[in-house]
Symmetry: C2
Subunit: 301 residues, 2 copies
Amino acid sequence: MIDLLIEKIKQTKNPSVVGLDTCVDYLPQEMQDKISSLSDVCDALTEFNKNIVDNICDIVPAVKVQVAYYEMYGVYGMQAFQNTLQYAKSKGMVTIADIKRNDIGSTASAYSRAYLGKSSFCGMEVTPFASDFITVNGYLGTDGIKPFIDDAKQYDKGAFILVKTSNPSSGDLQNKKLQNGNTVFEEMATFVKEWGKDLVGKYGYSDVGAVVGATHKAEAEVLRKKFPSLFFLVPGYGAQGATAEDVSVNFDKNGLGAIVNSSRGILCAYKKDKYTGKNYYQAARKASLDMKDDLTKYINL
Amino acid sequence: MIDLLIEKIKQTKNPSVVGLDTCVDYLPQEMQDKISSLSDVCDALTEFNKNIVDNICDIVPAVKVQVAYYEMYGVYGMQAFQNTLQYAKSKGMVTIADIKRNDIGSTASAYSRAYLGKSSFCGMEVTPFASDFITVNGYLGTDGIKPFIDDAKQYDKGAFILVKTSNPSSGDLQNKKLQNGNTVFEEMATFVKEWGKDLVGKYGYSDVGAVVGATHKAEAEVLRKKFPSLFFLVPGYGAQGATAEDVSVNFDKNGLGAIVNSSRGILCAYKKDKYTGKNYYQAARKASLDMKDDLTKYINL
């Protein structure tokens, strides 16, 4: 699946992913005014996301859908999450379910069936929240990751494991030094490399990649150098404060090796003076193009 | 909320929690035979769990509902998850949503609103998957945990943070030694103590506790000694291999300080020769009583 993502990036000449972290507050007032039940929330989030997808699918390779913003509306939110993943896929986009799931092996296997593999029961088979990639937290170690890797292999999917996250406190644990000389995040990256070593595709990157926050440039530089087979999912650009120059260190000399996420910067572009006169999806398209131009000033793709 | 859990443990003289990790395979064949859609799955899981709850709510203080086993059936599974939490609460049980969620602050806040706090939008307020406690993965550090702690304080709820998990590979990262002399799991426990220091109740335990696997006795002994204010949620008894003697090290001299989970051992008790002649919920009740007897051989409650 990493090969397909890279091909989409090359085709669009755009190493970015739009984060559909859509909550009701992000919707235009006229859409909010029509909401009077959780069922309406499902319809509104789905409509908003579909219009964004329709207006970016030819210029952006992938969407990242953050499940927390849907879980907070209960089963109706989860229905909108599912609708969004399905629709983006139907429009040819690569889909990343940002779920950060983690558990012991048997339970991780249940999560993996929900997103990557298949749930089988009573003669039926379903993958309710089918995604091309998921994000995973690796704190539990190898046997908690194996079900995801096995399904990535069997169903041509992928996973990004949290290595160095974009939040200000990520160093609390992740930057602590181990007695073997590695920081915790370098140790995690070492595991990720091992977990994905049999899934390296034709561009030299593995289906098992790493989440590396754009807001920690020094750490990203270390990781890019030490782990050439790891493809990075890079959050933190834009609303969280990282610039295009900051994120450029995540890329290899061919302009590959990373994909940069922006969520609020795209979804809420219509609220900015810069995009006055455009509706939310026209503004999202223009903001996506502006982001592409900004990133590719520093990246030779 | 930890005080209520401790009072329920004292009242039932039972330091155990039943894990409702209910998947279709665990249901009696006659229930499986009636399933021909995901909607049927929702009904069957809900019915099974309600019958278990009805038959244990007077003898067991709490249930732990593992969301992965519901997510794998999509929105219908999530509806059964919600039904189960609501029903167990209505029968006076303490509810633990085993979700192991984690993210940067703004996103963690969305998760927290789904389980502990409230989602507000368009004049409405909902807590779709309302739970007394949740489990959380602390790899992201302080600002990713803060929304859960804030809601625990505001709404009298609690959280158990993964410290030393029960799976065989948990030591991959968790047992690595840091340069400050702590293992990673001891370092995590140190954070957990700090995060919950303002939420210590009348029994000396905090609303912010730790997940400590029963399968790692030596580590549990260290943690019990070094962190007297942390209440432990202890998975790994029974099907995962730990004995009552193994788990006894998680308790203080008053028989408090921990609650031990069993899932398959209770839900699938009806399949064991020992419980022949009983239906699934009668077997679950008897297995719960047997577990209580087993645990209290080693714990003075």
